[in-house]
Amino acid sequence: MTENHLSLIEKSKEYRKKILKYIFNAKAGHTGGDLSIIDILNVLYNRIMNVSPENWHSNTRDRFIQSKGHCVEALYVVLADKGFFPEEDLLTMCQYNSPYIGHPTKYIKGMEQNTGGLGHGLSICCGNALAAKKDNSPIKVFTILGDGEMAEGSNWEAFMFAAHYKLDNLCAILDYNKLQITAPNAEVIGLEPLDKKLEAFGWAVRHVDGHNLEELENTLKSLPFEAGKPSFVIAHTIKGKGVSYMENTLKWHHGVPSAEQMELAMEELI
């Protein structure tokens, strides 16, 4: 473990604590999914993407659209850490008349698009990536998809499109925690064999441990996985990762911890 990754590990711990703090305050949030995508967001924003408050209005910034918009709390915490807005703004999250609602919106600096309806982000990313190709711009375009969201037909329209137009400046990362609101994906509507399906759709696919920061960084630094193909990262994650009683537990999809549970979580995250 290099020092580089130790600092990322510390950031992930801090992010997890803050996610829980603001969800506890708001009495709302998609806790399980936030904890499952936070390591991916940490690596994207702190090691991979060229996105900052300073270059926010420049066309040269990389683009990120969080297609699984409901895990917005994780994105809020990372954007606040990057200095897009004061962190204390998040105390208004989900309160009356606050711009910090339960899904991403462009009214918050650092957000590219309003998401929340599932199966929308990837198509928009395709348009971004195609425009960048047309302009010979070197930017990269990223999205995080949810595993439940993979059942949306629009995603498969976009998979076809990205491969047809050889969008190798596009990378989709799947938060594969294998649980959706009703039950495990495998019971609701099976996704497997996912890598074979995506390869058949013309994507270059890699599996990673979605909580191993070093592996995530190395993988995302080797984009595109194959010239002329869009890249797909199947990030194997754990819903509720980092808090023992939340991990792999369906009720934490949008569960809000009690005061006692918060205390326990904070102890575990030290």
């Binding site: 998401t115 198509s123 928009i124 348009g127 195609l130 629009s154 076809m160």
Partner: protein
């Protein structure tokens, strides 16, 4: 020479693309039906084919618009505004991306192909969505202007038209085209037709017939913009207390008629009022003309209705 508005649309886009390399046309296997084959031949780098995938069509157009491109998403109105409605609502309107949504072969243009291919719901669904201008040009002039204005507008716009030949310019006075401002194409003091899109022509013909045969003079307005509605003009038209008839190639529910009726009711106007459009019915089969005749969106139907109100 009269041409289908669809052809005017394609010609106008080609003119703009000559100098504007940021103009992009996105199609869903619809370049033929959108008369865009010549555009694709002249500007192959500025046409993006997504295949028969309307949701992705609107998503990709959104992504292009967000990167500063002037993106026109072109697809039959029936599919564009139903299949991709959530993308229109969230990605275009809510996210405020200036995509130009072009609904081709709108209304009952596809005639005998039936209800799957008719769009009699588009005004209604889009009127209920915030942040979109809804336009149905009546003639070639309005179509060309609508495309030019939309290209320069940094906001979401929906424009729908059909494929039947339409007059070059119904307005002898040649009033300036502006989104949100109805064009009065005929002045009369006995009653008013407020029509939109390809239903303006039969209203105009009915007005001429009423004048010639019955000595009745009707005002005819092309209310090309359904939203924002030109309420200032409607108030002015209603002031004389004479009957008002709205005419549209759309369901009688949720379209121009109900928009005008709502404004009149809420502002104290009690003119006799009728909405002409497609009833809540299993639409009769036939060509666009036959369907129009069947439901009274015609010179005969509209003039008879006018007489019954006077």
């Amino acid at each position: 020479m009269s041409k289908p508005n669809l052809e005017i649309f394609s010609e106008t886009l080609q003119k703009i693309a000559e100098t504007d390399k940021d103009l992009y046309v996105v199609t869903s296997d619809s370049r033929g039906s959108g008369k865009l084959v010549p555009f694709g031949q002249k500007f192959p780098k500025q046409i993006v084919e997504v295949g028969i995938a309307e949701q992705n069509l609107v998503g990709v157009a959104t992504g292009l618009a967000a990167m500063g491109k002037k993106a026109f998403a072109v697809s039959p109105a029936c599919f564009l505004t139903a299949r991709a409605l959530e993308q229109i609502k969230n990605d275009v309107c809510y996210s405020d991306n200036p995509v130009k949504l072009i609904g081709i072969s709108a209304g009952v243009s596809y005639g005998a192909l039936g209800t799957t291919h008719h769009s009699l719901h588009d005004f209604a669904v889009l009127r209920a969505i915030n942040n979109i201008t809804i336009v149905a040009p009546a003639d070639n002039y309005e179509t060309e202007e609508a495309i030019k204005v939309a290209t320069l507008l940094d906001k979401p716009v929906y424009i729908r038209f059909g494929k039947k030949s339409m007059p070059v310019n119904l307005d002898a006075e040649d009033a300036v085209f502006q989104f949100g401002k109805g064009r009065t194409i005929r002045q009369g003091s006995d009653l008013t037709f407020i029509a939109t899109g390809e239903a303006v022509l039969p209203a105009f013909e009915a007005a001429k017939k009423l004048s010639k045969e019955n000595n009745i003079e009707a005002t005819v307005v092309s209310m090309h913009t359904i939203k924002p509605l030109d309420t200032e003009l409607i108030a002015k038209l209603a002031e004389n207390g004479k009957p008002i008839i709205t005419v549209e190639e759309h369901s009688i529910y949720g379209g121009l008629g109900e928009a005008v009726g709502s404004f009149l009711m809420q502002n104290g106007f009690r003119n006799k009022f009728k909405i002409v459009g497609l009833p809540d019915d299993h639409t009769v089969s036939g060509s666009q003309n036959e369907i129009f005749e069947h439901y009274g969106i015609s010179e005969k139907g509209l003039s008879e209705l006018a007489m019954s109100l006077l």
